[in-house]
């Protein structure tokens, strides 16, 4: 694996997606959005971790002439995922159906902006425009627009969103909060 693939300041705006390829991940929409961004001369690089050995993605990238702008990586050990995530500007979730994985809070804890499609459950973590960004599913044009919009936000605005996300996720995922949630859950079971 190329450790230095994502370096802030190089190769434009760094976008990353993490998760094993499955149609539910909607990666083809992310790639279609990449093609739109390319057509608009937007300077970016998209790294997709977990997207290797999939002929659909390979063909999509080749056919859309995105070979230089998109990198598919095998799922590396967790420490390397953390490094790659740390060096990204934006975590992109293009799913048509998904569930909250540790990737989203992890990114927020690392001060990475998160853009997701509006699959059921994502609003539990991302508040659009406050702790991250949400766009409609199956809409690559809107996805591309939003990526550009985020990249062009003033740094102070980005910091505001990052800080709010950090605050929310720190509280929601703190040991105390998890213990309290677990206690409430068990109480609920007992009462049932």
């Amino acid at each position: 694996m190329k450790k230095s693939l994502i370096k802030k300041g190089n190769n434009g705006f760094q976008i990353i997606s993490i998760g094993q390829q499955h149609w539910k991940k909607g990666y083809t929409y992310a790639l279609d959005a990449c093609r739109t961004l390319k057509d608009q001369d937007f300077d970016f690089h998209y790294t997709l971790i977990g997207g290797t050995k999939d002929i659909e993605l390979d063909y999509h990238i080749h056919d859309l002439q995105l070979t230089d702008l998109v990198t598919l990586l095998e799922y590396p050990p967790n420490t390397q995922v953390q490094t790659l995530l740390q060096n990204a500007d934006l975590l992109l979730l293009s799913s048509v159906a998904d569930e909250i994985t540790p990737v989203v809070p992890n990114a927020m804890l690392k001060n990475i902006l998160v853009l997701s499609t509006d699959w059921v459950g994502v609003q539990d973590v991302i508040l659009d425009g406050e702790t991250g960004f949400i766009v409609p599913k199956r809409n690559s044009e809107r996805l591309a627009e939003k990526v550009k919009e985020i990249a062009n936000l003033p740094e102070a605005e980005k910091d505001k969103i990052r800080n709010k996300a950090l605050q929310i996720v720190s509280n929601a995922y703190s040991d105390t909060q998890i213990a309290a949630d677990l206690f409430d859950f068990c109480q609920g079971l007992k009462n049932d």
Partner: protein
């Protein structure tokens, strides 16, 4: 001009399996060649009980499966045949592979895996798909036959992405290529294959069977009947098609969309129909017989083939022959299959918004405008994509 036959030309056709009843392309090709006096031998990886009535001789590869002891005995048996029944050809294959820099282990493997091809006396060894020629690039020369390879779309456009360099050796060999479209021919020329070696023979259909004298199916009750015949596979662009139809529905246009075919991605597509709010408008009847397909096409107005990748597509030919209004993507062979605004409409792939607009535009055309397009389509398919013409071109392919 076809030369007079001086001896029976024997063509060895290499496929993975014996073509099923519905796989008309190879069945028609074999029948056409036999009718023209050719002898055809079919080489396959394995056979099934249902293959007994296939109309040509079938040679199946030995099966290297089962417990280790079985595999060892199979390999020893094959090796015995290679060394004692076809020693010259086996040695020739070994030497040719060595000349190409193939490592010893693979040279040995090639003799074992290709032994079932070495025993036949053929004029032509024709690989039905490009990927079937991989690891067999020297077999034809070793048995003193000419080599032919057909590319059918997936094997030309996708296999090199999955297996980079898989055709590097093949493209250096003396091969006569058959491709389905001029776009595929250009792709081979981009790989430095000379023009004369590449023959474009498009698919053909039974135009007598797929004919329909009635005018275009009416769009009664303001419901447009739309059909696609395709494997349920990402390559067919069905998710984009559903997105386009969701946009059509948003314009208050009623339709019934039937996707005829089975495949691994049914869950993905059914999920999409629910998400897009068109579940009650889309039907998945599965794979159907030719007769049932024809019955459905008779009551259909618009045929869609919005593929991401397509070699040529017989189903679009059948739909055109049946007088349907055909809207296809610009994927590879499709833009040669349908001539934009002459025999149907070609729209850029992966752009559901554009496809939706085209569906609406076509559905709102006057009957006379629609009739003009379908008349031209029927005429062109009958003239250029009939089985007789295809058979003639294949005979010329082997004889020129």
């Amino acid at each position: 001009m076809i030369k007079a036959q001086t001896h029976t030309v024997t063509v060895g056709l290499v496929l993975s399996t014996v073509p099923g009843y519905s796989e008309t392309f190879f069945r028609n090709k074999i029948k056409g060649l036999q009718n023209a006096g050719f002898e055809v031998v079919l080489f396959v990886d394995y056979t099934q009980k249902t293959d007994v009535d296939f109309p040509c001789r079938i040679v199946a590869s030995p099966q290297f499966v089962g417990p280790r002891i079985n595999k060892v005995f199979t390999v020893l048996g094959v090796l015995f045949k290679a060394l004692f029944l076809q020693p010259k050809r086996s040695f020739a294959l070994y030497q040719l592979d060595k000349k190409d820099g193939i490592i010893f282990k693979n040279r040995f493997r090639n003799i074992i895996l290709n032994q079932f091809l070495l025993g036949e006396t053929l004029d032509w060894l024709h690989f039905g798909y490009g990927k079937l020629a991989h690891g067999r690039e020297n077999v034809a020369e070793a048995i003193g036959a000419k080599m032919a390879v057909s590319f059918r779309g997936f094997d030309l456009y996708l296999s090199p992405l999955k297996h980079p360099g898989c055709y590097d050796l093949l493209f250096k060999k003396e091969v006569r290529y058959h491709v389905l479209s001029h776009g595929m021919k250009q792709r081979l020329k981009d790989n430095l294959i000379s023009d004369q070696k590449i023959h474009v023979i498009t698919p053909a259909i039974n135009t007598a069977f797929f004919s329909h004298q009635k005018p275009i199916a009416t769009m009664d009750d303001n419901v447009i009947n739309i059909v696609t015949i395709a494997r349920l596979h990402w390559i067919k662009g069905l998710e984009y098609t559903l997105e386009a139809l969701a946009k059509v529905k948003q314009k208050q246009i009623k339709f019934k969309y039937t996707i005829i075919g089975d495949g691994e991605e049914k869950e993905r597509l059914v999920y999409a129909t629910h998400e897009l709010g068109i579940a009650e408008d889309v039907f998945f009847p599965g794979k159907l017989s030719h007769n049932k397909v024809k019955e459905i096409l008779k009551t259909t107005s618009i045929y869609l083939q919005y593929s991401i990748q397509e070699g040529f597509c017989n189903a679009v030919l059948e739909a055109q022959a049946m007088g349907l209004l055909c809207i296809v993507s610009d994927a590879e062979g499709l833009k040669e299959n349908v001539l934009d605004t002459q025999t149907g409409w070609v729209v850029p792939k992966r752009q559901p918004e554009v496809l939706a607009r085209k569906i609406i535009e076509v559905s709102k055309m006057s009957k006379s405008e629609q009739q003009e397009i379908t008349t031209q389509a029927v005429s062109r398919v009958n003239k250029l994509f009939n089985l007789e013409r295809q058979n003639l071109l294949f005979r010329e392919f082997y004889e020129c």
